[in-house]
Amino acid sequence: MAALTLFPPEERLAGGERATFDCYLVTAMALFVLMMVLGLTMRMSQATWVNVDPVLFYKLLSMHGAGMVGTASLATTAVMWFFLRKCVGLHLWAFVGNYVLFMLGALCIIASIFLGGYGALWTFLYPLPILGFGLWSPHAAALFMLGYLLIGVGSLLFYFDAAAAIIKVHGNLGRALGLQWLFGGNIDPGHPKTVVASTMVIIANSLGILAGAVVLVMSLISIFYPQITLDALLAKNLIYWFGHMYINATIYMGVIAVYELLPRYSGKPYPISRPFLWSWAASTLFVIIVFPHHLMIDFAQPRWLTITGQVVSWGAGFPVFVVTMYGALANIYRSGIRWTMPARLMVLSLFGWAAGILPAILDGTIRNNLVLHNTQWVPGHFHFYLLLGVVAMVLALMFHVIGSRAEAAPNSGSDRVGFGLYVIGGLVFVFAFLDAGHLSVARRMATHLPAWTSTDKVGSLGAALVVLGMLYFAFRITGGLLRSPPPRAVSHAGPAGAAG
């Protein structure tokens, strides 16, 4: 059965495709390590183990936030492209274009922060970016926003090319999502899960990016024409609509690797089902309308929006627990799975996602948000499902790819040590954040009260282990990509063979 072949020939890359894909992976690994080092530096500064000037601290925080979100998107875009290209006919120029625009955008952001002094964080909450108070000029803020626009245009370029390719094969996005099978009918067993997940991401994240583009352009107009002011609440809604969707899309792109690879390593089919289609249809809606949970303590917000934020936050747990986590556990149960690095990382990623969503749901409850909002509970839950979820999904594909080039799934002793460092460090790191949140330690502060530093110290130790593990992974994966022998002949399953 082709789906259970560990390294199917149609996945082999050559020429421009391989060069571009490798650029994505190497860039993502380098940026992940650099951004983690910034994170470690900030945690150590809060722990009073190193002295970072507050002006520099908020620059690092701005860089870490924008850099991590962008890098997660870059890396998971590579995951989506790697599998979706087997199902539909994607254009390489769109994939290359996204990379080039990402790099140009990243340069703008880096220049705005480290040359222009921008320090209003990745959320650019209006009107703070416009009021630099001598620390940054309006032009630095404009350059930061231009960087976001370039990255957003790159994402849209990739999504629109993918949307066109999906529509060409499946007729429309609804059929690609499998909506025609929600209430009955025989589900085509060959309908790719990758197409379902990719379609969801295209729909949801395109809307989010457009919302982001609107508020970025509005903010740019306000920067150059200060007499034009924005409604702060409207701007905040648009920012979180964009921000929430953009970072959540990384989970839904990353999980494609699990759907594709888990059955190959477990040796058990992981078929498409009606609950699966329901869960993705529901997630498409949920991820678009859940953003008001970021504005629960903005009491001026209409009540129905605040309630939507809570109800949808809770509802979002169903697809994760009942379908994705449960389905994956059922798949590996008594499967004789090969516990190599990709398998380990996939199971870790599912645990990270499922466990991380619980504190997220609790924070997305209005009553709880009144005491948890903007405490370290928030970075606690999102680091849980990003660090131990999304990054692990990406690493699973990376290890699978270097395994495919070496024709053996990676599983060396040093790999296992690196994995152990990453998992233990990650758990210590995220639980230190959650514990701090439960003790009301504020997030996003350059200096902490003496009573707050004990969790900072524990968190710093965890972060140091994560950095060590990730540094090992970066060398291992980069080496695996560079050293691998040239691939054999390439053959791709084109659109004709996609829908089955």
Binding site: D298, Q310, F318, Y333, V371, H438, A442
Partner: protein, 181 residues
């Protein structure tokens, strides 16, 4: 017991259960089941999935009802009948709080706004835990109602990043015993 402690306990128990499920499955994953056992396990798995869905549905319905009724945020667009009112204006990087002394035992309405950027108005109890918060947003006034039960010095801490002076942006309110000055 603080609300945060309840949330922390639920989190630890929930993550513990999820971890337990993973550990149990991983422990059973190494040996491949034969076809008959595999089919039996698949049937059991489908039944358990239905039970999981049902259990989560009950938690969803009961939890939503319990946490949304009464609605935790007071109505913003009509007058609130409370005996004490405090006007709060946030500016980079200080708090203007009038009056800064209030009485315990009766509800207080904080009318919170900002003169420049977004700030976070968080009330820390003397023991260092947050008891309530709202946002201070330019162009809007958020009404936060809280009933202090214990006298003491409460700290106001900005919880929305507002620039270089964010961390030191603190204030104080004195809560005195009922009938006290």
């Amino acid at each position: 017991m603080h609300l945060q402690d309840v949330i922390w306990s639920i989190t630890l128990a929930g993550i513990g259960l999820i971890a337990l499920a993973f550990i149990l499955v991983i422990a059973q994953s190494g040996k491949r089941a034969d076809d008959e056992a595999g089919a039996r396990a698949a049937r059991t798995a489908r039944r358990m999935q239905a039970w999981l869905f049902g259990a989560l549905l009950v938690v969803f319905a009961a939890g939503s009802y319990a946490t949304l009724r009464p609605f935790p945020i007071f109505p913003q667009h009509r007058a609130i009948d409370v005996p004490q009112v405090v006007d709060v204006v946030a500016r980079m990087w200080s708090w203007q709080i009038e009056p800064a002394t209030i009485r315990a035992g009766s509800a207080v309405e904080f009318r919170v706004t900002s003169g420049d950027v977004n700030h976070g108005f968080a009330i820390y109890a003397p023991d260092g835990r947050i008891v309530a918060q709202t946002q201070a947003m330019p162009g809007y006034t958020n009404k936060l109602v809280y009933d202090f039960t214990a006298p003491g010095t409460y700290t106001i801490q900005c919880l929305e990043f507002c620039g270089i002076g964010h961390a030191p942006m603190t204030g104080q309110i004195e809560v005195v015993a009922p009938g006290g000055e």
